[in-house]
Amino acid sequence: MRRMLLAAAVAAAGLAGQQFKLGSKVGDFSLKDVKGNPVSFAALKGQATVVGFIATQCPVSNAYNERMTALYKDYAPRGVKFVFINSNRTEPAAEVAEHATKNGFPFAVFKDDDNLVADRFGAQFTPEVFVLDKDGVIRYHGAIDDSQVAARVKSPHLRQTLDGMLAGQGVATAETKAFGCTIKRVKKAA
């Protein structure tokens, strides 16, 4: 009986969605493409995977549009998968699609309805990235680099992380911080 209760509790926790932590493995989750079709994260991940929370209206996120495109062009051919996600309640799928087209993104941007995925990652701002290794373990969390102004970047955190992982040297800095726009979450009933 006790074992059954424990199994039920574990199943319930799985349904609610346990929060992913730095250094621990990410379970599967579901996103939607901009046409509303469900997509499983399992079908998107690779040897190394960048999960990035971005926005259409956040000027900080938009300051990184060209840098995100350059990252994709430099690292996708080396086997890195990119999963860009928009979790903002204020930015519908049609706007996300239009923004991606307007900015010439070579990658897909997925919608995270009700910010369920942002909640599981504990993502707070845009742009904010998580890097997962081949086993789905979060190896890096934080900023793409250390300056909103591309010309003032001294530490390209995400590039350094990917270079280290691809070279099999591990990750030098696991977590960084930067100023960004809060993810606009759905209002929850009190």
Partner: protein, 158 residues
């Protein structure tokens, strides 16, 4: 010497404020401004011109301070704008008649600055921190602020 440093930095802040400009602040400067605010209830608002909810909330924060100023509440605005946006930040502060001292972050590392303010803060804006008269951090409000909850937290300090 420490007191002399504090007075010098307060004088510099007052001089810039008279010119309508926010004073630059880094980790050490932030500690000093908290020290200088002992005896008052401080509501420190980290905002930026690029942060839409920050701009939307500022008039409400100014009104909140006006309502409780007599009971010791002081609003301190810290702009997280880059140098290129400082002029826009000054215009915004003037437009919204932000009376308290205002600052603009000029830290060598945003990451270190964010962590010095609050180790648990990711850097997401808007971010508000409420300090009691002894300079102890009581609450943080990260993201779009529930003004009712903020006012309740302030009233509990009196």
């Amino acid at each position: 010497m420490r007191r002399r440093d504090l007075l010098a930095s307060l004088w510099a802040v007052a001089r810039l404020a008279a010119q309508g400009r926010p004073a630059p602040v880094d980790e050490a400067g932030y500690r000093k401004l908290l020290e200088a605010g002992r005896g008052q209830i401080l509501l420190v608002d980290f905002w930026a011109t690029w942060c839409e909810p920050c701009r939307a909330e500022m008039p409400q924060l100014v009104a909140l301070e006006a309502r409780y100023r007599g009971r010791g509440l002081k609003l301190i605005a810290v702009s997280c704008d880059e140098p290129e946006q400082e002029a826009a930040a000054v215009r915004f502060l003037q437009q919204h008649q932000v009376r308290g001292p205002s600052y603009i972050k000029r830290a060598s590392s945003d990451e270190k600055f964010i962590t010095a303010v609050d180790a648990a803060w990711s850097g997401a804006l808007p971010a508000l921190f409420l300090y009691d008269r002894r300079g102890r951090k009581l609450r943080s409000f990260i993201g779009e602020t529930d003004m009712g909850a903020l006012e309740t937290a302030i009233r509990k300090v009196f």
